[in-house]
Structure formats: C-alpha cells, structure tokens
C-alpha cells in the first residue's frame, strides 16, 4: 500500500513538473510571438545545401525537404561509417589476438590511441589535416580510374544507367535467385545424406553465367562520366566532399577501436576446451572457426556491437563542428535559425534519433531471444 502511495506521488510530481514546464513554455512562446505549430514545414527554404541525395533547390524546396536531405545525409554517413568500422574493427580485433608480436602490439596501440582521444578532437584533426595538405582543384592529384583528389574532395566517375540495363539487371537477379536456390538444395542434400552433390557449384556457375551472358548480348548496363575541371571545380562526377570524408574517417576509426575490443573479447569468451574438443573430433581448423568459434563468439559480440552502431549514428551529430550537412546541422542549424521554431525542431530532431535507437533496441531484443542459449 505504501508502494502505491509512493508511486502515485511520483507520477503526480512528474506530471506536475512536465505540465508546468509545458505551460510555462507555451505561455512564453505566445507572449513572445514565437511560431507555434508546424506551418514552417511547407515553406520555401531559400538556402542551399552542398550535399543533397535528393533534388534540392533554394528557390523551390521546402524546409520539409531540407529535413529529408539532412536525414538522408545522416543515414548515409552512418551506413558507410558502420560498414567501414565493422571491417576495420574485426581486422584489428583479430589482429590483437595474433601470435605475431608486432601485429598484436600495433593493433593494441591502435586501440588505445583511438579510443582514448575525444571524437570531436579527432574529427577536427582529420578535417584540418586532410584539407591543408591537399592541392587546389587546378593542381589536383589524378588517381587511377579517372578519380581526382583535391581540397574540394574526392571526385569519382559518375555511373549512369544505360538504356539496355534492364535485361542485364534481370539476368543478375535471376542468376542470384537460381544460384541461391541450388546452393540451399545442395546444403539440404548434404545434411541429409552426408554426401556432397555438386549442385552448389552449378548454382554458382549459373549466378555468374546468366548476367555475363546478358552483358555480352546487351552491352554494359552502366556508363561512366569522368570528372572534368570546369571553371572553379570539377563537374560531371560523383564527389565525396572533404567534410564527408573527414566525418567518415573520424567516426569509423574511432568506433573501430571499440569494435576491435568487442571482437577480441568475443573470441576470447569461447572456451579453449571448445576448440580442443572440436579438434579432437577431427574438425579442420577452418571448420572449427566456422562451426564452433564464430557462432558462439557472435552471441557475445552482437549486443555490444549494436550499441556501437547506435553510438556511431548519434556521434554523427558532431558533423556540426566540421560543416557536414547532417540532420543536426541542417535542421537544428539553418532551418531552426530561419524559422525560429526552436521547440518543435529540437524535439523532432531528438525524436528521430530516439526512434532509430528504440527501433534498433527492439530488433536487438528479438534477436537476443532467438540467439540466447536455450537450456533444457
């Protein structure tokens, strides 16, 4: 009963705090003629954004579109960063366990160095360290395959879909579906009979042959336009801006250090006896890794790994310090400043990140329930 009293008091108190803060803010917003509501969403933005994945023009796009541009830029840097950090993190985590003294020490040095220096500082360093030494557009470094590097970023040949692309794409999809189907059938057959059927190889052959054939018949599905210097800058290519490169580099190098530690701990968590037992049963080292160590290590690795992915996504808001147009920079920066709808915009921004976090946490919990040890 006392518990009931305490709880209702807590809820009452919290309700009062929230209600009075809301009232206070509402009253002040009214008195100060601050914009209420979300009318700004459909107004013309009137400013430009350097990197926009969807068409954006100052003269016609709305603040709502600016929000989308920012969100997409955040998702882009998060996705690329997660991919890079995972690869690098796994390599370094495994390297730390290497029996080779030099490799193990170097990996340890990497981990200690990168995780003990604030990310913001690393970002500022990369941004200033990448920008300064790079040449101006007219003195660009020309890299293989037509890529160009200068202090405006990395310009890559831009892919364009050719008219004859759809048969090739169709063949690719068909080849993949058939190949995977055959591979699955081969696995089932092997599990049941213990004999390799060779069906899997047929699947692989099919997956390669179909698109190659279509390519021969219909020609290349993509053609590339090379970046060209025109006036001040390179045009006609895909450019990775220095802000994106610096942010990507900073985020993935930093997060990789944490992932490396997680991977190391995961591998070490698999008891030595497990490997020895597998070896005693006659499994080859490659099979031990695939069938014994990795599945057990992953159970330990994946939950903290997801946390690191979320951290990386949240940390991408540090983009404001180096001018990368992510959600926080565009929406909580320019849009907020031009519309004055501070309360709405800050809460929308927080809500987006919260939704990403909660969604991932939910997915994680479902996965955990499936992957957890089922003791009988």
């Amino acid at each position: 009963m006392r518990g009931f009293a305490a709880q209702s008091l807590l809820v009452l108190a919290l309700g009062l705090v929230v209600a009075s803060a809301t009232l206070e803010a509402h009253e002040k917003m009214l008195a100060r003629h601050m914009p209420l509501g979300f009318g700004f969403w459909h107004q013309t933005a009137g400013f430009d954004i350097e990197q926009a994945l969807i068409p954006f023009a100052a003269s016609s796009s709305t603040y709502g579109t600016a929000f989308l541009v920012g969100l997409l830029n955040t998702l882009l840097v998060a996705a690329l960063g997660i991919a890079l950090a995972t690869i690098l993190g796994f390599v370094i985590g495994i390297a730390r366990l290497s029996r080779n003294f030099v490799v193990a020490r170097l990996s340890a040095a990497y981990v200690e160095m990168f995780r003990n220096i604030p990310l913001l500082l690393q970002l500022l360093f990369w941004y200033n360290a990448i920008l300064r030494p790079l040449p101006a557009p007219r003195q660009s470094l020309h890299l293989p395959l037509g890529a160009v590097l200068n202090n405006r970023g990395l310009m890559l040949p831009g892919p364009h879909v050719a008219p004859g692309a759809w048969p090739v794409a169709l063949a690719l999809v068909l080849g993949l579906v058939l190949g995977l189907g055959l591979l699955g059938a081969a696995r089932r057959a092997k599990r049941l009979t213990g004999v390799s059927s060779g069906l899997g190889w047929w699947g692989l052959a099919l997956a390669i042959a179909l698109p190659t054939g279509a390519f021969m018949v219909f020609g290349p599905p993509l053609h590339f336009t090379m970046p060209q210097l025109q006036g001040f800058n390179y045009v006609h290519g895909v450019s990775l801006y220095p802000e994106l490169i610096a942010l990507l580099l900073g985020l993935s190098l930093y997060t990789a250090a944490f992932i490396a530690e997680i991977v190391r701990a995961g591998i070490q968590s698999v008891a030595k006896g497990q490997r020895e037992a597998a070896a005693a049963l006659g499994l080859s080292p490659a099979l031990i890794l695939r069938l014994i160590v990795v599945p057990q290590a992953l159970r330990v690795i994946i939950p903290p790994l997801t946390n690191q992915y979320l951290n990386l996504t949240k940390n991408s808001t540090l983009a404001v310090a180096i001018g990368y147009p992510d959600l926080a920079q565009v929406f909580m920066g320019t849009v907020l400043n031009q519309t004055g709808a501070a309360v709405q915009i800050v809460f929308i921004t927080m809500g987006v990140y919260l939704a990403i976090s909660l969604f991932t946490a939910l997915a994680m919990n479902l996965w955990n329930q499936r992957a957890a040890l089922h003791e009988r």
Binding site: A6, L121, I356
Partner: protein
C-alpha cells in the same frame, strides 16, 4: 556418431607430426612470436615497415622540425609543431580568463579533488568512507564557494563566463563523477524496483537519454532552458552543461550499475532479510557495496566516455579545454601552417594521458577483483 555429423569428420587418422624443434633464448622468442610461418614473416615485415614510416615523420614533426624558441614569427613557416605557441597560450589553455591573481583557488580545488579521488580509489588507504563523504558532499560545496567566490569570506566573485580551459574540462569531469554515480545508482535501483510506475519512469528516463545525441541535450540546456522554467530558476550558464553532463552520464552509469545488481545472487538479499535487516539496510549494507564493486571497471569506462564527451560543450559556446584551444588557434597573431595541428596534438596528448591512466587503473583493479579481495 549419426549420419549428419559423419560427413564432417575425417575418416583417416592424421599422420604423426615431427617432434617440435626446440630452440632457446632470444632465437626461440623470435621464432615463436615473429617468424612462425610465411604469413607471420610477411606480417612482421609489413608491421615493421609501417613503424619505420611513421616514427621518423612523427619525430620530425614533434621534435626535430618543431619550434622551441622565439615568438609568433618563428612559427610563420614552421614545418614542425609550434611549441612556443602552446607555451605562450598555456595559462589561457589552463585557466581560461580566470583572473591571474585568483588562480590559486583553481589549483586548490583541482588539487584537492584529485587527492580525494586517489584516496577513494586506492584500496590500501584507510577510512575510505570518510573520503567518500568528503568527496560527494563536502567537496562540491567547498569547490563552488572557492571557485565562484564569497565576498563574505573575502573571496572576490569570479563570474563563470571567465572560467575556461583545462580547468573547466576537469570541473565538468568532476561534476560527472560526483553527481552521475549516485544518480545513476538511484536510477538503476528504480529500474529494478518492484513498483511498476517507478520502474517505468526510470526506464523511460534512461532509454530516452541514451537514445538522443548528447549535443541535442546540451543545446536544449544551454539555449532553451529558460523557456521551460520560471525566470527565478535559471541556473548559471556553466552549471547547465554540468547538469546536462551529469544527467547524461547518470543514464549510462545506471545501465552499468544495473549489470552489477543483476550479477548479484538473489540469495544475498534473501539472507540479509532473513537476518532481520530492513530492505533499506539490506540494500545499503549488503547489495550496493557488492554490486558497485563488481562494476568498478564498467563505471570507470563509462566515466572515460563521459570525460571525452565533455568536449562537446565547446560546440554550445562553453570554453572548455578544446574550446579554449580553438579560440587560441584563431588568434591572428599566431599564423603558421602548423598552429592548428600543434593545438590538436597537444589536446590529444592531454586527453590521451587522462583517459589512458584511468583505463590502466581500471584494468589493474579488474585483475585484482578477479583474484578475489585481498585478505
């Protein structure tokens, strides 16, 4: 052996291997650690090559090409680090604009704070309860009075807008420990409470704070807070990021402490209750001391994260160490190609030393905890 497994298992006995080659001394070490096989030899050569590439250029930048004497003109075209710049700006980087004559107050607060932390952190020193009481209760009050000033005590008031540099970074860090740990513990207990509404409240708080970027919290605290509270309630501009940091740290701390609470066998609390302890004393005397000890490494880790995150306050206009370094970099008097890099390298060294020291300490502690408590 069933049919399913039979396909994976070799059918013939493996051929007997030769006895291992025995070797002694340094050669053996080399063979075992660097030159096991072809891959290992390649990796060793690659690794050494990398070091050979990195170390000399670092040495050149940091030492041989660096500028150690002179003024701004000496750095105008320096290829290496401009250490004179750091030397000149060190007072500003350390104390911000805190008046020179009053800087002893900062030294006293930071010094005593560290002394208390060392007392708390070394298991060999006596009376750590007293240290805890001093650190969590007395220290914040004394620090506030000493730093901000109290005209009644003859201490001139120093406005917080003059505070800056390493001192503010350390202050934010200290506030992080002093407030985040108790608050985090309370939240963790709340999340494990058997009263559903309290559990729900704690969970919502923890998950919300952990789900949003720190910078949005800081923005809310530093530019929008007065909108939500009556004018009389506005906390100081420097206090706000401190509160923000503490709340943010508390949510992360709560999850670490919860891990410790979960790791504690139920029998402990049941035994304590059976002995007649009230639930409150069982918590205070049995559960918390054990749970917190288990997770000390986790606490230190999340504190390291918090300490690094304090750099974000520079984005919302607080002159912490990084903010001061950025401001110093903008000084038109100091214009050299290496000024920015020098500032970053210096800041990196500072943060690295602090964080690395903490993580080493926590590793040592972890190892000792695994070996069981000392008798």
């Amino acid at each position: 052996m069933n049919a399913e497994a039979s396909s994976y298992v070799v059918r013939d006995m493996a051929p007997a291997r030769l006895p291992p080659v025995t070797a002694f001394g340094p050669w053996r070490w080399l063979k075992q650690n660097l030159l096991q096989d072809a891959t290992s030899i390649t990796l060793t050569i690659g690794g050494l090559g990398f070091i050979a590439l990195l170390v000399p250029s670092l040495w050149r930048f940091l030492v041989s090409d660096a500028v150690w004497h002179g003024g701004p003109s000496a750095c105008a075209s320096a290829k290496g680090a401009c250490w004179v710049f750091i030397a000149q700006k060190l007072p500003f980087l350390t104390y911000g604009a805190y008046p020179e004559a009053q800087r002893w107050r900062v030294d006293v607060v930071v010094g005593s704070g560290f002394a208390l932390i060392i007392w708390l952190a070394s298991p060999r020193l006596p009376r750590r309860n007293l240290a805890a009481a001093l650190f969590f209760v007395v220290f914040p009050v004394v620090a506030l009075i000493l730093l901000h000033g109290a005209p009644a005590l003859g201490l001139e008031t120093i406005d917080t807008s003059l505070w800056g540099g390493i001192f503010v970074t350390l202050l934010l860090g200290l506030a992080g420990i002093v407030f985040a740990l108790p608050l985090g513990t309370a939240l963790a207990l709340g999340r494990r409470s058997n009263l559903p509404l309290i559990r729900l409240t704690a969970t919502i708080f923890i998950e919300t704070v952990r789900g949003v970027p720190f910078i949005t919290v800081l923005f809310l605290a530093n530019f929008m807070l007065p909108l939500f509270v009556p004018a009389a309630w506005e906390p100081d501009r420097l206090l706000r990021p401190m509160i923000g940091t503490a709340l943010f740290g508390a949510a992360y701390m709560a999850e670490v402490v919860r891990g410790g609470l979960q790791a504690l066998p139920r029998g402990q609390i049941e035994a304590a209750r059976a002995l007649g302890l009230s639930s409150w004393s069982a918590l205070r005397r049995v559960v918390l001391p054990q749970a917190l000890t288990i997770v000390i490494p986790g606490i230190v880790n999340s504190f390291i994260g918090l300490f690094k995150d304090t750099t974000l306050v520079s984005i919302v206009g607080i002159f912490d160490f990084l903010g001061a370094a950025e401001a110093a970099r903008a000084d038109p008097k100091w214009q050299g190609p290496s000024i920015a890099t020098t500032g970053y390298v210096f800041a990196a060294l500072f943060y690295f030393c602090c964080c690395y020291a903490m993580s080493r300490w926590s590793h040592g502690l972890e190892r000792r905890l695994q070996h069981g408590p000392e008798a």
